[in-house]
């Protein structure tokens, strides 16, 4: 095991544990545990959202895609960014105004009742857990590669760490780990880029020329069409990406961790700036990787291109720099998986345990205790799932989950907030259909049976999700339970009346 790598790895682990310890003192009430008492400022929360969102799949994966495929890789990245417009305009504030701790709370404002809450909770947990798999797999591979640790052991280490953060430090620890990760990520990336530019004497022209020379694509590197050959495939992917973020539970619960709705707005805005800036820098990293390092090197180290950024770091600064970048990647992984475990935990312990099982009759201490036990459960579950999925295609899984979120939770939220005629039946139909459609397309798709050659189910599943929800709503009679739509409008557009 390389000492340099190990030292940095240790530094990150110790640092995050220190943060968790500090946060542990502030996680003694449910309000603190679930939403950090709303103490984060808009800006801090924005950093946390960015930290929650940018996975190492983005950091390393996108850089690799750009290095190998040029323009199309960059467009892939833009898909991640533009989804924030949807989030900001249509979803963020209503979620904040209607809910307290979870998505279940949000939907329950319009459709109260345990049945609906259960359905939403299960959907959120499924998505969070499934999203966890590619993250843990990627991290396992990374640590295995750099520290020489066995894949399974690596997964266990990360899994235990993320569980510790959530159990001990609740939302406080989760948020601050994510904020620190964002700082590290941005500064590390800026550093890499500065070093890169100093090597080419601050002349980007040289870099671009080198890129054309080194890439097997030659001139075509900068042209669209290197990655996305099928129009339908690329459209499906783009659709899934732009609509998916607004349906990801771990991002949505971050709407609650600030003082009021204006801060929520600011957080989403801040996150979009940070994420945008980050992907612009990833572009440079990708170009740098191919231009500075060269095709042969990149392919030799890792044919999938995922480690391009690390190879670049090695060429720019040797072991030390690689170790640092690895540490950053490691922090990135931890931040995201912690956020996911947290999302699954809070959904289970708040929606299922507290509301449904205990019918809201549980005191603070009990709720906290159950939350912590749930975190351990979810942690173990994710570890076990990931252990078996070592061979999976991480990028595919990520975009697949975006499509799932866009076909289930996203239509649910949009229709709940803005459609008068919507009702419980429609909601349930929509959710169910979304999941079933995605599942079937996965089975029928190239991964399993290969009957349909569509990797990303988005183009079919998303419209299907909307459509079935609408049809389901029309089939049932008008639902007059719960909050009337007019009252809901008031709750959504002002900040009064909704929060319990």
């Amino acid at each position: 095991m390389n000492l340099t790598y190990f030292v940095f790895f240790l530094a990150i682990v110790v640092g995050t544990l220190i943060i968790t310890h500090w946060a542990a003192g502030r996680s003694n009430t449910t309000h603190q545990f679930y939403v950090a008492s709303g103490n984060l400022t808009g800006f801090q929360n924005g950093m946390a959202i960015a930290g929650d969102y940018i996975s190492s799949a983005s950091f390393l994966g996108i850089a690799g895609l750009i290095a190998f495929h040029g323009y199309d890789g960059f467009i892939y990245a833009t898909g991640f960014l533009v989804s924030y417009v949807i989030l900001l305009f249509l979803i963020a504030e209503p979620v904040r105004n209607l809910g307290t701790y979870t998505l279940g709370d949000v939907v329950a404002e319009r459709f109260p009742g345990n049945g609906m809450r259960l359905a939403v909770a299960i959907s959120a947990i499924i998505i969070s857990l499934l999203y966890m798999i590619p993250q843990l797999v990627a991290s396992g591979l990374l640590i295995h590669l750099l520290l020489g640790v066995d894949y399974a052991a690596a997964v266990w280490i990360i899994g235990i760490l993320m569980t510790l953060y959530v159990v001990w430090g609740g939302m406080f620890a989760t948020s601050w780990v994510q904020i620190i990760k964002t700082v590290l990520l941005m500064s590390g990336t800026i550093l890499l880029i500065l070093i890169l530019f100093s090597r080419v004497n601050w002349d980007i022209g040289i870099l671009l020329d080198q890129t054309v020379k080194n890439s097997p694509l030659g001139e075509k590197f900068f042209f669209p069409g290197n990655l996305f050959d099928s129009v339908i495939e690329s459209f499906s992917l783009m659709l899934a990406l732009v609509l998916g973020t607004a349906g990801l539970p771990h991002i949505l619960i971050r709407m609650f961790t600030v003082k009021d709705v204006k801060d929520t707005r600011l957080s989403v805005l801040t996150a979009s700036w940070i994420i945008g800036l980050f992907y612009l820098m990833t572009l440079l990293l990708g170009i740098g990787a191919i231009g500075f390092v060269g095709w042969e090197e990149l392919v030799t180290v890792d044919p999938s291109g995922n480690l391009s950024a690390l190879v670049l770091a090695e060429f720019l600064g040797g072991d030390f720099l690689v170790a640092f970048v690895t540490a950053v990647a490691f922090a990135t992984i931890i931040a995201v998986v912690t956020g996911l475990v947290f999302a699954a935990t809070s959904t289970f312990s708040h929606d299922i345990y507290f509301h449904i099982i205990k019918k809201r009759k549980a005191d603070e201490q009990e709720q906290l205790r159950v939350a912590r036990i749930t975190a351990i459960m979810m942690g173990c579950l994710s570890i076990l799932l990931s252990l078996g999925m070592k061979e999976s295609n991480v990028a595919f899984l990520v975009s697949f989950m975006f499509a799932t979120a866009a076909s289930t939770i996203m239509p649910l939220l949009i229709l709940t907030f803005y459609w008068k005629r919507f009702n419980k039946v429609g909601a349930l139909t929509g959710l169910a259909t979304g999941f079933i459609a995605v599942f079937f397309l996965y089975v029928l798709g190239p991964q399993v049976l290969g009957i349909i050659s569509l990797y990303n189910p988005g183009i079919i599943a998303i419209p299907l999700g909307f459509f079935s929800a609408i049809v389901g709503a029309f089939c049932a009679k008008r639902d007059n339970q719960g909050t009337s739509f007019e009252e809901l409008k008031v709750k959504i557009h002002t900040s009064i009346g909704g929060r319990q």
């Binding site: 900001l88 129009v231 732009v242 992907y279 612009l280 008031v490």
Partner: protein
């Protein structure tokens, strides 16, 4: 709002001005989103279908056009975000004026 004030939810629901404001706001949101989605999704579609025509039309500028499009997406996201921020603040203020009028001070009634 103090605890002893009650929001007259009924009156607020009925209030014409409130309805109008919400309606305007929704229209703004919808139009922007639809426009943006068209820009993001449909444009590339058209480009892929009519790729050759466009390519010969633009010639040298093809590359610039594409990279410009990519960067425009970034700028659009940021600009829309900032614009929304401004618009939402204005709507917030207008709505809160209406809401304040509807608060019944239970001491008076």
């Amino acid at each position: 709002m103090l605890e002893k004030d009650r929001l007259d939810m009924e009156a607020l629901k009925e209030d014409k001005e409130f309805q109008e404001l919400v309606h305007d706001k929704m229209r703004y949101l919808l139009v922007t989103i639809v426009g943006f989605l068209l820009f993001y999704l449909v444009l590339p579609l058209l480009i892929s279908f009519y790729r050759n025509q466009i390519s010969s039309f633009l010639g040298e500028l093809f590359l610039v056009f594409f990279w410009g499009y990519a960067f425009t997406l970034f700028i659009a996201t940021w600009l829309l975000g900032w614009h929304y921020w401004r618009v939402a603040t204005i709507y917030d203020r207008k709505i809160s004026t209406i809401v304040k009028r509807k608060i019944i001070n239970t001491e008076e009634s």
